[in-house]
């Protein structure tokens, strides 16, 4: 019996095939799915903000940020026996939920910044980004299967896509 493990907002979880990880209703947040194809160990981080170092109060929850969240996910996967040198990643989310005319405020840009920060961190850790479904103006529910590496994406009024 395989289990689907739920990842909340500002949260991260690891799993081993045949289990999978799911996060519901990603908006401007970004879901980063990482997998080691050999051990079939996988994980999903649901980050809200790009950068922990720019924070006012330091950070209590490291899963909240792209930089610390990805680092922690990789660490937890390695603990389970995954190798960083085999890891590959896929990302989704980072939408701009509300369009304001001529507004480039933090609210409008945070989705893009989350995507960029996630990519930068993956690059830094030398984890190849295999696919992405990011941006646009709608929410996404994502499920990641470490067995195959398939990242299933659902959105309101759209048919499910697999990247």
């Amino acid at each position: 019996m395989s289990e689907m493990i739920k990842v909340g907002m500002a949260d991260l979880k690891t799993c081993v095939s045949p289990d999978s990880v799911i996060t519901l209703g990603l908006g401007s947040c970004v879901g980063i799915a990482i997998r080691d194809p050999l051990t079939k160990i996988g994980g999903l981080a649901h980050i809200m903000l790009p950068d922990s170092t720019a924070m006012i109060n330091g950070c209590q929850n490291i899963a909240k940020f792209a930089d610390t969240g990805i680092t922690e996910l990789v660490r937890q996967m390695e603990k389970l026996g995954a190798s960083r040198f085999r890891m590959v990643a896929k990302i989704a989310g980072g939408a701009t939920m509300f369009a304001f005319e001529g507004n480039s405020s933090t609210v409008g840009q945070v989705g893009n910044r989350n995507v960029e920060a996630s990519k930068a961190k993956l690059k830094e850790l030398k984890i190849p980004l295999l696919a992405q479904d990011t941006g646009a103006n709608y929410g996404r529910t994502v499920v990641f299967y470490p067995e195959t590496g398939e990242f299933h994406i659902r959105a309101v009024g759209k048919s499910e896509s697999i990247i």
């Binding site: 519901l24 006012i56 509300f98 529910t141």
Partner: protein, 207 residues
């Protein structure tokens, strides 16, 4: 002030924020009642401080389809505000406001969304007005933006704003009744500096 977090705000001023919420939501319902030309009853609003992970659950799950109206707040304080209603409630409101010209089922049409935006505009305006009256601060809403999507996705927007300085989100749930029960949620998101301004304006010591 720079080390203030929402947790401290909560401990000390939870009641104040709750009262603002009560009065704001009350005013918003009065405005809605005038707009719909009918009586609208409401329960005492619930003010909740939630972990990010809990927010979706209380609205009927992260995938519950909702209508969100989002606007900026300018003037003496800055920040943003959001009003959310369930899809079904939104349809009911739209039907009522267009006097049955639009069907209750099917896709949201341009005109329906526009009407819903206006509802959001009016009730958030009334909400902010009462905050302005209470604090004697100038508060202006910017034109609203609207989206229809999963609750989790809509909530990511205010959650991220709260996430900048804390790990929780403050929201006000107001149930109101017309012919059917409608569930609406207000989320006021002052910028960090604006919290202090609101508290000072109310004659309370800043943390």
């Amino acid at each position: 002030m720079s080390d203030m977090s929402l947790d401290q705000v909560t401990e000390n001023y939870y009641d104040v924020l709750k009262e603002i919420g009560n009065i704001g939501a009350g005013n918003a319902m009065t405005a809605l009642s005038q707009m719909l030309q009918c009586k609208v009853d409401m329960k005492v609003p619930q003010v909740r401080l939630l972990e990010f992970a809990e927010v979706g659950d209380m609205m009927g799950g992260e995938e519950q389809i909702m209508v969100g109206v989002f606007l900026g707040v300018e003037g003496d304080i800055t920040g943003s505000m959001m009003f959310m209603v369930e899809e079904e409630s939104a349809r009911h409101l739209i039907q009522k406001i267009t006097m049955g010209m639009l069907p209750a089922g099917g896709e949201f049409e341009e005109m329906g969304l526009s009407a819903m935006k206006e509802v959001g505009n009016i009730i958030t305006g009334a909400y902010l007005n009462s905050l302005s009256t209470l604090t004697n601060l100038k508060i202006f809403p910017t034109p609203p933006a609207l989206t229809v999507d999963m609750a989790g996705a809509i909530l990511s927007v205010p959650a991220i704003q709260f996430g900048i300085f804390g790990d929780k989100i403050l929201l006000i749930q107001s149930q109101f009744y017309d012919e059917i029960q409608l569930d609406g949620y207000f989320i006021l998101i002052p910028d960090l500096e604006s919290y202090a301004k609101i508290l000072t304006a109310l004659g309370l010591p800043v943390v």
